[in-house]
Amino acid sequence: MSASPRILSRFSLLAAVVFLAFATISFAGTQEEPEPAFDEHETSNEKEFDASAVILHHVVDDHIWHLWEGHSGTIFLPVIVYSSERGVETFSSHHFYNEHHQIIAYNGYTLEHNHILLNGEKVLDLSITKNVAMLLLNAVLLMVVFLAVAKSYKNNQGKAPRGIASLFEPIIVFVRDEVVKPNLGHNTGKFLPYLLTLFFFILFGNLLGLLPGAANMTGNIAVTLTLALLTFLITNFNGNKQYWSHILWTPGVPLPLRLVILPVEIIGIFTKPFSLTVRLFVAITAGHIVLLSLICLTFIFKSYMVGAVSSVIVLFINLIELLVAGIQAYVFTQFSALYIGMAIAEHEHDDHH
């Protein structure tokens, strides 16, 4: 019987907490009631919150860079189009938007679903879009950082690295010793610059994309396709005789099987960069879509409680996204090193040939 007042007080504490939680939730629910009186006027102007439009808007490329609400928060990036009728034309994308931020036509060009059309036909769009601007920013950042690292090594020869060099040295040594050297062996020096650039480009691109207001750069399939294409070109132009003979005329297998293996191996040359492309694109884009969906939950339910819970969940998923940024950079570089290594490998094949 001596324990029961404690149990009772604990139970009442629990009951009080649960009651308060439910009270808050129901309070948040009742806050919407004053609004219907205003809604009667506004339902014609006020659109329902379209989550998929908001999410897509943040994930795809755009001709303007929208940082925050209002006219000062939008950067109107230059539009550069080439068409056979008019040649190259350059103008600010500001012309495509009127004062109410609605899309209008300009000089014969119309902007539909982020595609620029001239009299209804597609033109070659070479504009500086949000992703291109982000790419350039990434390139400038990489150059600034790594020129500083190189200068620091040059000035500190023989001594321990300090400052920014000491930040990047473990990462560079990790990529060289764990990723490149096991796959390339004595050819490491030839391909290390490319693979290090690849790794840091993807890493910085992924991390920059997680900042608020940033563009989803590595989540653009054109960017990842280009990176995979570079790996594809380097692999196949450096492939030695053994590599090509294994693909086209596999040694050591009977003739009918060789004819079956030939198309499979040729397709295999192309699936490798394809998988590199899609892997990076999907990982980053899906991560952004998940984050945006959770944030949009708050706006769909229009409740403070959902907002608080969703903010905590978004915080933890952001941490997972940081991990994914690093892992995807590592995986892309690892597979690139593997493919290049397989193409230039010289094995001892005394048995088949």
Partner: protein, 83 residues
């Protein structure tokens, strides 16, 4: 019965397929990563000295499996956004 259900909810079968697909994808990813995690736990228990390497390898393989799941998720999203 299926027709009235579709009429009542005012969606097409494509979106229902996308929804079911996304759910199946999540199951697939869960099973795959669960197996990796399980064997990682077991091997870390057998040989605690190697746990750093095992943990590193586990995270990377989990990311690869997750990307395979996300392939399918993106396709489901594409289907549902087209409607």
């Amino acid at each position: 019965m299926m027709n009235t259900l579709a009429l009542l909810l005012d969606i097409s079968y494509a979106i229902m397929g996308a929804g079911i697909g996304a759910g199946l994808v999540a199951i697939g990813a869960g099973i795959g990563i669960g197996k990796i995690g399980g064997s990682a736990m077991e091997s870390m228990a057998r040989q605690p000295e190697a746990s750093g390497k095992i943990q590193g390898a586990m995270l990377i393989i989990a990311a690869l499996i997750e990307v395979a799941a996300l392939f399918a998720l993106v396709i489901c999203l594409l289907i549902s956004f087209r409607q």
